[in-house]
């Protein structure tokens, strides 16, 4: 069970959280100008990287806030945590 550093509540047990998958993906728009391919990309295509992954988490049984997590998908080490809407801070892994 991961210990996740909620940017608002500090370190808390994973069972209080929901993982929302890949982060930093923009909802396409305006609707009239985006084709199905772009939408399928937004909804379904995923980096699914082996290594650092930027993902969204929700502190569901806590402050109810969504936020970003940079996590290593091999070691499960959490490299960075930052609020929604913020750009990715650099981490060891870079990217």
């Amino acid at each position: 069970m991961l210990l996740i550093l909620c940017p608002y509540c500090g370190p808390r047990a994973e069972i209080e959280f929901r993982c929302g998958g890949e982060s930093h993906i923009e909802r396409p728009g305006p609707y009239s100008e985006v084709d199905d391919g772009a939408w399928a990309d937004y909804l379904f295509t995923r980096k699914n990287p082996k290594g650092e992954h930027r993902e969204r988490w929700l502190h569901a049984a806590g402050c109810r806030q969504w936020f970003n997590v940079a996590r290593d998908t091999v070691s499960h080490t959490i490299l960075a945590v930052y609020p929604m809407g913020k750009t990715r801070p650099p981490t060891e892994a870079g990217t």
Partner: protein, 195 residues
Amino acid sequence: MSDVAASKGAEAARRGPFAGLNLDTRASGVTLADAGPCARFLLRGGGAAALAVGMALHLDMPREAYGCATDDAGRAMLWLGPDEWMLVAPEDDAAALTQKLDAALNDLAHALTDISHRNAGLIVRGPQVADAINAGCPLDLDIKAFPVGACTRTLLAKAEIVLWRIEADAFRIETTRSFAPYVVALLQQAARDQD
């Protein structure tokens, strides 16, 4: 012609979430008690709204996790999230509070929602209280890690709760009404396991 109030009187007509539940833990280390009816409001809004509420109620609004502000009128403002607070107060305070808050918040971006009936408040008390709650709660409840006055939304096994330490050996657990039987049963079992 029949109606609730006439047939019973509003007071008598009320039934709390613990009605019909036996709260006896049959354990020496931990006891359970119904916190009883009270006024509860959920405030959602930004800094401005918080500021206004703080001034209106003369409360030093908690701005950080685990924060809680109380006054001697029995009002308590619990931080639940960066834009969310729960205000707990004596029941007869409800009308006055609503007035004050509506006035103070007036045209500020906010949402004020009455959840007095949504929640069930349980007082859990005793020397073994932290251990009993840790039977289902993933938080470190050591007095240094979670001091008196600390509060947060968290889990008790499979129920979502707001946990609030009101004394070194006493917690207030707020859960939604329908989870009351589950929470009580779990704490009763945990209390017995501490003996």
